[in-house]
Amino acid sequence: MSVDQKILKALESESIEILRETAAAFRKPVMMYSIGKDSSVLLHLAKKAFYPAPIPFPLLHIDTTWKFREMISFRDQVVAEAGAKLFVHTNKEGVASGANPFTTGISEYTRIMKTVALRQALDEHAFDAAIGGSRRDEEKSRAKERIFSVRDAGHKWDPRNQRPELWRTYNTRLAPGQTMRVFPLSDWTEIDIWRYILQENIEVNPLYFAKERPMVKRGDQLIMVDDERYPLLDGEKPEMIKVRFRTLGCYPLTAAVESTATNITEIVEEVFAVKLSERATRLIDGAKEDSMEKKKTEGYF
């Protein structure tokens, strides 16, 4: 095995150990499925962890109603193939109140349609553990996140008072009102994710591959006009540009990068060559320095 393969093997084994620990220790765990590449890897690892038994927990997707159309069709196809149970939750009060990514304000929109929606879904089903695909290399406040990370009543994270986590000896016990967030991909990096997708031949969303798409420019960000709800400027016409996406979120808030990478191998090469952090294409993160930590203390993943 090459060094890269050995690294992937070690990361895979540790993630499987964490997934098994979650299944064994919690009353009603759930796995977040956000349709992106990290979720694809997480789902693949869950199949591996429990084989030949089926995945012992359901999946949960928080749908803001502003996801790329290709994400939703891909989601339903992949989940059906995996034979897993999927819950889809949307904050209906949020939709009724007219929250949208354009006039509500990005931070408030994210809070209502993602953070609050997630809290509603977790409470409604009384899930006591939610597995997420966050990685420590994504963002500074995530670099301090535990693998098993306790949330207090109201799903609040207190970064100053985290439960000590030593060795691989996990304290999975919860006091009344607490829930757990579990991060099996903590030690993975973006390049590991792509190399693993390549090695394991994992199917990922077509939006990750370069293709001519109808785009508009907002500042120095390229935004795809995925449906008629996108407000165009006077006389503006979307331009067909060959782009791909590094992360997938709500389409009006997720910028594309110009690219010619049409398969995983080319993506791996591109990720190596482009020295930009992937969250640079997420509009919400730039709102204010430290904004991720703020969102996380409120219950965001």
């Binding site: 050995k6 690294i7 290399d137 030593l166």
Partner: protein, 607 residues
């Protein structure tokens, strides 16, 4: 043996230039996205002297908002980078101050290598010795002492040598065999990734080289082990899942399961959609055993040739992680790998001064303190000395009410007592004895303030039971303090031990088939829960004698409240010490109600 992922602990404070050092390591190995590097050009800490537009290396590793305000790292942050030979380095960056000893223990627990920073302009300080002591305790394989800021000391060899000999003297009392010293400047970039042109007197490795060429020590004994995480069930399939540690398992191997000591053979090794012949160190697999033995989560699988000795008594070192101190005799939940069992620290042998390594007598352990203790578990555990196996020699202690992680432990050795005392089974048992007496053996635990009426109610209940021809016995807290517990005082530790002894006596009497009435203040919930945990379901009834404190003061049958109010009795419940109200008592009595009424209520739950 090689490791594709190396874990590095960095200890030292911001003042030592630690964040700058890590930042430079990341930037010079091209491990940081360029937009992240650029974001440090226009943010400045208060008091920073770095020119606007230049990279502030230190900002690359300090994450949380609160920390940026205070200018210090308050929790462990993890960072991944690629070494130049393709291996992965995961850096756990630990805060340096004494109040964060626990965070350093967290970061050290998985580290292979520790980078201990010394500020050459300040020399060896107390915190350097503390960091080395913790590295030694947590079993770090290699320590790199980086003597930083030599640019501010004219790159002087004598400054470097003086610090080195100072550290070496301290090392003689530690278990650290592999310690390297590197002179460097994080700010100027000498001997971090690039060699130095300023220190021709140094011919050793750069920091990066000393990390890259590290290899884990060869194991003297590499027999495989696996802790069972879960039982995997599918159609006509029942396997055990877990991660292999050290050595390897091959199809056909004879194995043993601990602590039950059952033997079996590995029939199949299953990974995703395939069967493999051999599972190696660190592989997560599912084993199919033959015959299908009764194994559960928490059990340990080892080669049949291995002689492992499950025990329920251990000597261990403990790092205390929580503001509420470790209380000897209090029951905690002990988690080791995938097993959980109640455990009690039966003795604190001594406290270790993290700054000097000296041993001092102690009756408890406060937050960030380290002690050597004896610990007793309710069930036998298969643990190994930490020096022999980090993986099978560690445990954590968890509070049984809040479930917070309060302590981290490292097994020194198991105490033979645990192995050599075997439960002797007798043929006449508890229920046989109780049936003969025409009753159900049980314990009625009366808890409440001093003067609440516990003894009076117990006395009334015993009289009524006696009249009915039933066999009861009262264990009175005050009376037992004149004999069995005459060596105990009223500190929380002594109260925990008082309750432990009384509950053990009650257990013997219940085993003898009696109805036991316990009248003891027992002010702490954890102690009462621990007492309850000794008994079978339904055998222990908690009765809360709820009497307003004014009524107790007014009654004051023994004149104790008077004395306590004058300050003559420290730790008096309700005055110097709190009383934790039972959360879910089986019976809640109003202590100022009619005595006969209360006695009748108690009889109602017994008969």
């Amino acid at each position: 043996m090689e490791r594709s992922i190396i874990r590095l602990l960095t200890c030292g404070s911001v003042d030592d230039g630690k964040s700058t050092l890590i930042g430079r390591l990341l930037v010079e190995t091209d491990s940081i996205p360029h937009d992240t590097i650029d974001s440090t050009r226009n943010i400045r800490r208060s008091g920073s002297t770095i020119a606007a537009g230049e990279i502030d290396f230190s900002l690359l590793t300090d994450g949380l908002e609160a920390e940026r305000e205070q200018g210090i790292t308050i929790d462990v942050a993890y960072r991944s980078m690629s070494l130049l030979d393709g291996k992965r380095l995961i850096i756990s960056d630990a805060p340096g101050h004494e109040q964060y000893t626990r965070n350093m223990a967290v970061a050290a627990s998985r580290a292979d290598i520790a980078l201990v920073l010394v500020d050459a302009t300040k020399g060896v300080r107390t915190q350097t010795l503390r960091h080395l002591t913790i590295c030694s305790l947590m079993g770090i394989s290699r320590v790199i002492v980086a003597i930083n800021k030599l640019d501010a000391m004219e790159y002087s060899q004598s400054v470097f040598e003086e610090i080195r000999s100072h550290v070496q003297t301290a090392l003689t009392r530690m278990h650290l065999d592999d310690v390297l010293f590197i002179p460097l400047s994080a700010l100027a970039g000498d001997n971090v990734v690039q060699g130095s042109t300023h220190m021709n007197w140094y011919r050793g490795q750069t920091l990066l080289e000393s990390i890259q060429e590290w290899r884990p020590a060869e194991l003297a004994d590499a027999s495989p082990r696996m802790r069972i995480q879960l039982i995997s069930r599918a159609d006509n399939f029942r396997g055990v899942s877990g991660t292999v540690h050290r050595g390897s398992f091959t199809v056909g191997d004879e194995i043993k399961i601990f602590p039950s000591n059952q033997a079996a053979k590995i029939a199949k090794i299953i990974t995703y959609k395939e069967e493999i012949q051999t599972a190696h160190d660190s592989d997560a697999v599912t084993l199919l055993l033959e015959p299908e033995v009764d194994a559960t989560r928490g059990d340990l699988i080892a080669a049949a040739s291995e002689e492992l000795h499950p025990s329920d008594r251990f000597n261990a070192e403990i790092v205390w992680l929580h503001e509420d101190p470790l209380i000897h005799s209090r029951s905690y939940l002990l988690i080791a790998g995938t097993s959980q069992t109640p455990a009690t620290v039966t003795r604190i042998r001594h406290k270790i001064d993290v700054n000097t390594g000296s041993q001092n007598p102690a009756s408890n352990l406060g937050v960030n303190e380290i002690g050597s203790v004896e610990i007793a578990t309710d069930a036998p555990l298969t643990l190994l000395p930490y020096l022999q196996s980090r993986e099978f020699g560690n445990f954590i202690l968890v509070d049984r009410l809040t479930f917070r992680t309060v302590g981290a432990g490292m097994i020194r050795h198991s105490l033979r007592r645990g192995e050599n005392v075997v439960l002797q089974k007798y043929e006449v048992n508890k229920s046989a004895r109780a049936v003969q007496k025409n009753q159900r053996a049980q314990v009625i635990w009366l808890t409440g303030l001093s003067g609440s009426g516990k003894s009076t109610i117990a006395n009334g209940v015993e009289k009524r039971l006696h009249a009915l021809g039933m066999h009861a016995y009262v264990l009175d807290g005050d009376n037992l303090r004149m004999g069995l517990n005459s060596d105990l005082g009223f500190t929380p530790e002594d109260r925990a031990e008082n309750v432990r002894r009384i509950s053990e006596v009650a257990k013997v009497l219940v085993d003898a088939g009696l109805i036991v009435l316990v009248a003891v203040i027992s002010p702490f919930e954890t102690d009462r829960q621990r007492a309850k945990s000794l008994f079978d379901e339904g055998e222990f009834l908690e009765v809360f004698v709820d009497t307003p404190v004014e009524v107790c003061v007014d009654r004051d049958p023994k004149g104790l409240y008077k004395k306590a109010n004058k300050g003559e009795i420290p730790n008096f419940t309700g005055i110097g010490q709190g009383y934790e109200t039972p959360k879910n008592p089986d019976l809640h009595l109003k202590g100022d109600a009619d005595l006969d009424e209360n006695v009748t209520k108690v009889l109602g739950v017994i008969i």
